[in-house]
């Protein structure tokens, strides 16, 4: 006599694996804006929001960051902001610059913006994988 799931013995492990992966990976929308005036930083904003709708599934590039096991994504990205900005800036970046020169003053303002994109964030025990989805 065959067991109840004898025809498909891999269904239950596969379902468990899919559930584990889907719980381990979350999708977040992350955007960044940096403003410098006269080549001096004056403002910096990092926005993070959990995705409420499904994101695209095609992975474009991956960043791996060290993780201490308990901190939230906001704290992690604040700590590793430099690496994240460099990683995301290579993909796409919007730059806007305005210079004004008058008889007695020069003013320069630069804004660079990382467009808000969906990233898949996978928390592991001692590292986090951030994947840009396109």
């Amino acid at each position: 006599m065959r067991s109840r799931n004898g025809n498909c013995p891999f269904i239950l492990p596969s379902l468990a694996l899919i559930c584990t992966l889907s719980y381990g990976t979350d999708n977040y929308y992350i955007g960044y804006r940096f403003t410098a005036q006269n080549v001096q930083a004056i403002n910096e904003t990092l926005t993070i929001s959990k995705a409420m709708q499904p994101c695209p599934t095609r992975a474009a590039s991956v960043l791996e960051l060290k993780y201490n096991g308990y901190e939230p994504l906001e704290a992690l990205l604040n700590r590793e902001r430099d690496r994240f900005v460099e990683f995301a800036a290579v993909q796409e970046l919007r730059i806007k610059n305005n210079d004004t020169v008058t008889l007695n003053a020069i003013k320069s303002q630069e804004t660079f913006t990382l467009p808000t994109r969906c990233y898949a964030v996978e928390f592991n025990r001692d590292f986090v994988t951030i994947t840009l989805l396109q």
Binding site: A36, I42, R94, T100, T102, E110
Partner: protein
Amino acid sequence: MKLSAALATAFSVSALYAGFFSPDGTDEPKIKCVYSGTDGSCVEPILKAENELVITVTGQGVAPSVTSSPAQAYALAKRAAMADGYRQIAERVKGVQVEGQDTIKNMMLQQSSTKTSVEAIVRGANLLNTTFKEGLCEVEMEIALSYSRVLH
């Protein structure tokens, strides 16, 4: 017969001089520069279908006067330098919009202002090198332009 041969020779020499035929047999005239300086040297190279054009810039940034730590000062100076580098890339690839205004009253210059602006989306620029010395951060950046990247 001799007259026609002489005419044909004269025509081909003048055509060669005008650039219709190149000596190496290719029909396309060779253009090496977009702009030529007064001494005839290349100022800006042109992007061609068969090769990549690499543009290298150096961005500079200064740390804010008030920061909570030297590490924060370094990070912010680096980001300001990156913004400057991206601005230079955008200026060289896309160009700058320039707007000038002079006000003259009683034959005297009262006010003069020049505004320049750049706005662009940059993809695929790489950070090559970063140096930080006496509060000034310099980043060397490059972008490789090719037909396949421009068209995608």
